[in-house]
Each structure stands twice: as C-alpha cells, then as structure tokens.
C-alpha cells in the first residue's frame, strides 16, 4: 500500500504543479505581459519594424515577410537554399487573390 500511496502522492504533486503553472500563466502574468507587450508594440510602431530578429543569417530569414517569393533560387538559377533556417521557416502561402 505504501508504494501505491507514494505514487498517487507523486502524481498529485505533479498535477498540482501543472495546475499552478497554468493558473500562474492565466492570472499573475497577464498584467506583466500586457505592459511588456505594449512596450514592444511601441518599439514596433516607432521604428516601423516588420519582422522578428530571429534568424539574421540571410535576407529572407531576417525579414520573412519582406522577402522575395522564392528563397532557394535567390542568388542564381538552381541555387540551393544555403541556410539551415530556410528549413525551419515554412513556405509562405499567399493566395492569388485576397478578398478585402
């Protein structure tokens, strides 16, 4: 019975930690989050930024939203994709005609 109780106790503790983490994210964080995000949005607004500075290795990875439609052939015809981040960013699907 002891082993069983220890196991149930352990699982209950883990569940409690997970619930606390969830509630922490839901309740305590939003106020911090809102002010942080507002401050970041102010930077975006003031500087007119368009992209996240995640991958700085190539034009199309630094500014995926501003890049050409192709990346693999950007340098010369049949040029392969040089950069590892190229395999992380999914191809962007832009519909031929977008309705307003």
């Amino acid at each position: 019975m002891i082993k069983g109780k220890i196991f149930i106790g352990f699982i209950a503790l883990e569940c409690l930690m997970l619930v606390s983490a969830y509630l922490h994210g839901r309740t305590i964080q939003p106020s911090n989050q809102a002010s942080q995000w507002q401050a970041k949005r102010a930077v975006v607004l003031r500087l007119g930024l368009t992209d996240f500075a995640l991958w700085t290795e190539a034009r199309y990875t630094r500014h995926p939203s501003q890049a050409d439609f192709f990346s693999a052939f950007q340098d010369f015809p049949a040029s392969p994709d040089h950069f590892p981040a190229g395999s992380i960013i999914a191809p962007i699907h832009i519909p031929a005609k977008e309705t307003p």
């Binding site: 082993k3 883990e14 975006v44 500087l47 996240f52 500075a53 995640l54 700085t56 290795e57």
Partner: protein, 385 residues
Amino acid sequence: MSKHFKIIDYAISSLLRRKYKSIAILVAYTITVAMLASVLFLTHSLRTETTFVLQGVPDLIVQRMLGGRHELIPLNYAETIKTIRGVAGITPRYWGYYYDPLTEANYTLLGTGSGVATLDLLEGRLPGSVDECAIGAGVAALRGSDQSKELILVNSRNTGVLFEVSGIFHTASTLLTNDLVVLNDPAVVDFFGFPPDKATDFAVRVPNSNEVQTVAAKIKRLFPDTRPITKRELIRTYDMVFNWRSGMMLTVFSAAIIALCIMAWDKATGISAEEKQEIGILKAIGWDTADVLALKFWEGLIISMTSFLTGVLLSYLHVFYCNAFILSAVIKGWSVLFPTFHLTPSFNLFHLLTMGFFTVIPYIASTVIPSWKTAITDPESVMRG
C-alpha cells in the same frame, strides 16, 4: 478502492523488478514528451506574442521589384500614392543589411524618422544626429559597445564611421531589436550611399483596415513594378512560421512520433517470456483476467502518466525559465546574433490535453492488449511457454 491500491502496489513492485527496462522506457518517454511540449510551448508563446506585438506594424509596406528582387523605390512614387483615397500618410523607410567581418554577424541598419525620442524598452534615447546610434542588446554585447559607448562601422565607400551610442535596447526586446543599429534617416542614406531620390520602401498609413486591400490593389495598378505587403499578410507570415506545419514543428514532431511509434510497436507486438510466465503464475494462483488487465493497465498508467507529467513540467521550466536553451541551439541555424527568448509563461490547455491523449492512451493500449491475449490463454500452457 483498496483492491486497486494493492494492485498499484504490486504493479510498482513488478516494474521495479525490471527496473533497468522500466527506467529506460521512463527516460525515453519523458524526453520525447518534453521535446514535444517544449516546441508546443515555444511556438504557442511566440505566436501569441507575434499576433499582439505585430499589430503595430505599418498598415501597408510598398516595395519596388526589379527582376523579381526587392529594389530601391523612387521617392516620386509617394506623390501619386498619397492621392489615393483612404491613404492618410506615407513615410519613406531607409534600411539595409550590414555584414560585420569583425564578428561575422549581420546587422540590420534602420533609419528612424526625425526627432529625439525615448522608448520604455530603450536605455537612453533614439539618435538625434547623424553621428549617433541606438543599438540592440545583441550588437552591444558582440561589439562591447555597452562599455565603450561607441560603434565603428565601415560604410559603402570603405571608410570607417564612428557612431556614438545614444541608447541600447533592453534585453526584454531582443526578439525585435537584437541585431538592430538604429541611425537617423540621413545617416543611413549616407552610410549605404543610397541615391538621394530613392528609399528602401514606403510605409503607408491606411486608417480604415477594410480599405487596405483596395489601396494595395490600386497601388499595384498604378505602379505594376511594386509589391504592396499588407499588415494581414505580414501577420499571417508569422502565423505560418510558428504553425504546426512549419519546419520547426515537423522536424521535432516527426522524430518524437517515430520514437513513440517504435516504443508502442515493440510493446504491442508481444510481451517477454518472463512477463508471460508472470501472468500465468498470477492466473494459476487465482487472479481473474480482469485483475491481470487491471494490473497491466496500472503498469502502463504509472509509466505513461509519470513520464507525461514530468516531461511537461520539464519543458515548462526549459522554455519559460531557462529561455529554451536546448531548443534555441536547434533552431539557431547559422545566425551569429540569436535572441534570447524571454517568453511569458502561458500554454494552451487544449494542446496539452491533445498531446496527453496521443501519448498516454496508445502506451496504455499497447501494454494492455498483448497482456489480454496472454491472460485469456490457459495458465498451464502459458507457464510451459
């Protein structure tokens, strides 16, 4: 209830008898779940943040295309674009890339409009003159500018230009500003040697969001060599980058799912002779088939629940308190300047429950089904092998 406690007790003893095998499964299972959950937490957090923060991006960016590539745009295009109904303002943007051979890193040089300004996430102020700059925390750390308060870059005429650092962006904003060198517009034009009548692109302000698409279509009709990029397209780009179908998710997911499948397949195709004998003995001393199944169910649940919960908690700590240092190494690619993630702890309960369902249930099923096959066979023949 007491019966189940006793079965759990027996199941734990049974797992401890095969402790090396059990520990190996527990560790592999925990790592797989932690990996999956880390990607889920990271992408969910980045997507939520992106959706909010990128609401501040210009309503419309207008680039000029030449030979299928981004080209500098003539300033006189702005005069015509301004006359389109719905356009409230147009600002030329001056920006470009700079490869620093000293550190082998790429920086983004960005011009900011006139006027000295301060920002909450900027220690100091934006540049007020052509010999000042504000830099991201990554650039400051790489070039030691946080100490020296100056930055030397080589311009298009191969002349070193000394900039005084007027501000350094706070580390909380590295996701946006890590590689930025913010100068004022004339300094960027001079640095890159842009022709005086051209800009990198235009930021167009369209207050009515319903009109953005129409304005974009009109610009495209007036200037067929341009490419208007709407705010919606821009946000959708990031939605795709952090989508479950993105390479980042697929790479980690496929490895984890293959590992889980191999484990489930190994369990489902049969149980060891030792386990069969154990079931035979239990049946012979009077256990029902239902009791044997309950035992196997608990064995599966003990392993899978422990691994699942431990994996999820580890990934939570990894992503939100250790800045996703393991995952960063994977997704960093060749970037010399890669931001540190300072993400706000939050996760989607639905994603977590789905992941729990797809990892815990198949494991329990693959434990119980082969045991059921053995449990319904005559104990004597099972024990004889």
